[in-house]
């Protein structure tokens, strides 16, 4: 009589789940894996924003935020790929469970703080980077609905038998994780800004918003002028080197009467100091950080808007003709220089 060795082993752990249960388990694992990978993709596109978020959450108390970001990213990719390709080992499910709990803790804490007015301008959780606009409440409940049931399904429907192509699957997980980390390290230098942000060709300015319900604020409220006509919009901080280097050319553009708007999360004092120092011909429009952050990976970032729709985006400032030296139209004629002859 033939004895199935594997069956014998399974029998030691308990009975093998039925086909329906394993299918549901597989579906749960795939969905959970896909969600983790989507979150990882958003972080790969803008790893510095992820590191910033880690720092703002106070999670860099042991290791620098950049390292925490890299470790977290490796975990998320590794677990995501494992679940996606059916590598639902106990260790994978346990680690995924801990990750799910950690996400729920973060989003739950943000939700609690926001709901109790502890943080008044809390942007939605950045677990999906800049790609998805979520309020703290939405972030918590979406995580709860997307992650918890799928994880439970993945555990409940786990096939306990020996895994086919186990080594190959582990190799795939390792390779994809390594590739993901390499792309994350390179991505700041890659032209992925349109993918990593909510700014892109065809996007309407009315859809660029932050907050929910009473606190909802959209770009066309901050800058109603964008609804009509052709404008160049520059998102920046007022002390960003790349922006300061282009102030003369931006001034020239504004002097020509071409539509130009500079958006900055600047205090009134900072705006005034900039005004007195640089004498800009353009207006600085104050906008909250939570509205601006999803528009860029690095500053400055610019985009053209025609009748309320984005038609072109730029990393930095667009190419502009070199500005003529500023001539004060009211300046008195220069006096002839003396004393230079005979030297």
């Amino acid at each position: 009589m033939k004895v199935d060795q594997n069956r014998g082993k399974v029998g030691a752990e308990g009975s093998e789940p039925g086909i329906a249960r394993t299918t549901l388990g597989w579906v749960g694992g795939v969905i959970l894996g896909a969600v983790l990978l989507f979150g990882a993709w958003a972080k790969i596109l803008d790893p510095s924003a992820f590191a910033q978020q880690i720092s703002s959450e106070g999670l860099d108390f042991l290791v620098p935020a950049n390292w925490v970001a890299l470790i977290a990213l490796a975990l998320e990719i590794g677990l995501g790929v494992s679940l996606l390709i059916g590598l639902r080992k106990r260790s994978v499910l346990a680690a995924s469970g801990l990750l799910v709990l950690f996400f729920l803790f973060l989003t739950g804490r943000a939700y609690y703080r926001f709901a109790n007015g502890i943080v008044s301008d809390e942007p939605g959780c950045g677990c999906f980077g800049n790609l998805v606009e979520r309020t703290p409440a939405e972030a918590f409940w979406q995580d709860m609905v997307l992650l918890v049931p799928t994880w439970i399904l993945a555990v409940w429907g786990r096939a306990t038998g020996a895994l086919k192509y186990g080594f190959a699957r582990v190799a795939v997980v390792g390779s994809v994780t390594a590739a993901g980390l390499v792309v994350a390290l390179l991505s700041p230098r890659l032209p992925l800004d349109d993918l990593a942000t909510r700014i892109g060709k065809g996007v309407e300015v009315t859809t660029l918003c932050t907050g929910a319900e009473d606190d909802r604020l959209c770009l066309d409220t901050v800058a109603p002028e964008l609804r009509e006509g052709h404008h160049l919009v520059v998102v920046t901080e007022l002390d960003t080197e790349g922006f300061l280097a282009g102030v003369d050319r931006l001034n020239a553009k504004a002097m020509r009467g071409e539509g130009l708007m500079v958006l900055a999360d600047a205090t009134l004092e900072a705006s005034q100091t900039f005004f007195w120092t640089y004498g800009p011909s353009f207006e600085i429009r104050e906008a909250p950080a939570s509205l601006l952050k999803p528009m860029y990976r690095t500053l400055p970032r610019s985009f053209e808007v025609v009748d309320g729709v984005i038609t072109r985006t730029y990393v930095g400032l667009p190419e502009m003709p070199e500005a003529e030296p500023f001539v004060d139209p009211f300046a008195p004629p220069a006096e002839p220089s003396v004393g230079s002859q005979g030297q």
Partner: protein, 275 residues
């Protein structure tokens, strides 16, 4: 033998036409020069003039944003000053070359400058200059604090006055607000220091003026900077400005925040409708 002649009929005609064009251009040239003006000097209510340490409450300030340059008219002085930010020049201006437009804007002829008066000095957020032995400083206007009517805000700053004048409320919403039975009160908490308020509160000022002599009261409350620690803001649960609180028969029925300010009258009507 053929010879060319300047008396050729076509050449003569062309010469005459050219001469005529030249004469017309010469006649127009001085007029064109005279018409060369810089418009767009708008009344400025962000700053006030301090002369030798005393605030000149009657001084007028205009700002041309593109240049950018301030036109400063100190009280009791016949010598307006043009303060150019980028070139750091302070120059005297001929009164005769200034034209006040009905809109309140000032135009300045390109040949308005009568002389150089010195240069600007910048100390952090404020600038000063010395003219004829007097020390001038452009200082930030004090923050408006406390309860105010629409009229008081218009008196406080030209931005509120001009902004209200140019805002056109939605007639249908205004009619809907007027038709509401019961006593309606709208209190707008704002900051005179807040750019977003400067843009949108004038719209509410206009609505308040339009809605006078009805059972609706619209007033304004100026908050200081740092509203999170202000007791009035805390009591009213205001954590961002502007915030409009709508009361119906003494009971709060809704608030105007963020996007609601693009059309305050529509938002009020919507709140009162219970939507």
């Amino acid at each position: 033998m053929k010879t060319t002649s300047f008396r050729h009929p076509v050449s003569a005609c062309a010469t005459s036409c050219l001469a005529l064009v030249c004469l017309i251009l010469m006649a127009l040239a001085p007029a064109a020069a005279q018409q060369s003006t810089y418009s767009g000097f708008e009344p400025n209510d962000e700053f006030q003039l301090e002369v030798d340490g005393t605030i000149d409450t009657k001084a007028q300030l205009f700002l041309q944003r593109r240049l950018p340059a301030f036109l400063v008219l100190p009280a009791g002085s016949n010598t307006p000053l043009l303060v150019s930010i980028r070139s750091r020049a302070v120059q005297s201006v001929s009164l005769m070359k200034m034209t006040l437009q009905p809109s309140g804007m000032m135009d300045l002829a390109a040949d308005a400058i009568t002389g150089s008066k010195g240069t600007l000095e910048q100390k952090q957020g404020e600038i000063s200059f010395l003219v004829d032995g007097k020390h001038y400083e452009l200082v930030e206007k004090p923050v408006f604090e406390g309860l105010a009517s629409a009229k008081m805000l218009e008196d406080y700053g030209a931005g509120y006055l001009n902004g209200a004048a140019s805002y056109e409320p939605d007639a249908e919403s205004m009619a809907a607000i007027r038709a509401v039975k019961g006593k309606v009160q709208v209190r707008t908490y704002f900051g005179s220091w807040c750019p977003f308020c400067k843009r949108y509160v004038p719209g509410m000022v206009r609505v308040a003026k339009e809605i006078q002599e009805s059972n609706i009261t619209i007033d304004f409350y100026g908050l200081p900077k740092g509203i999170s620690s202000d007791p009035v803001a805390n009591q009213a649960r205001v954590n961002s400005v502007p915030t409009g609180v709508v009361f119906l028969d003494g009971k709060e029925v809704g608030r105007l925040t963020q996007n609601d300010w693009t059309s305050p009258e529509k938002s009020i009507a919507k709140i009162l409708k219970g939507q």
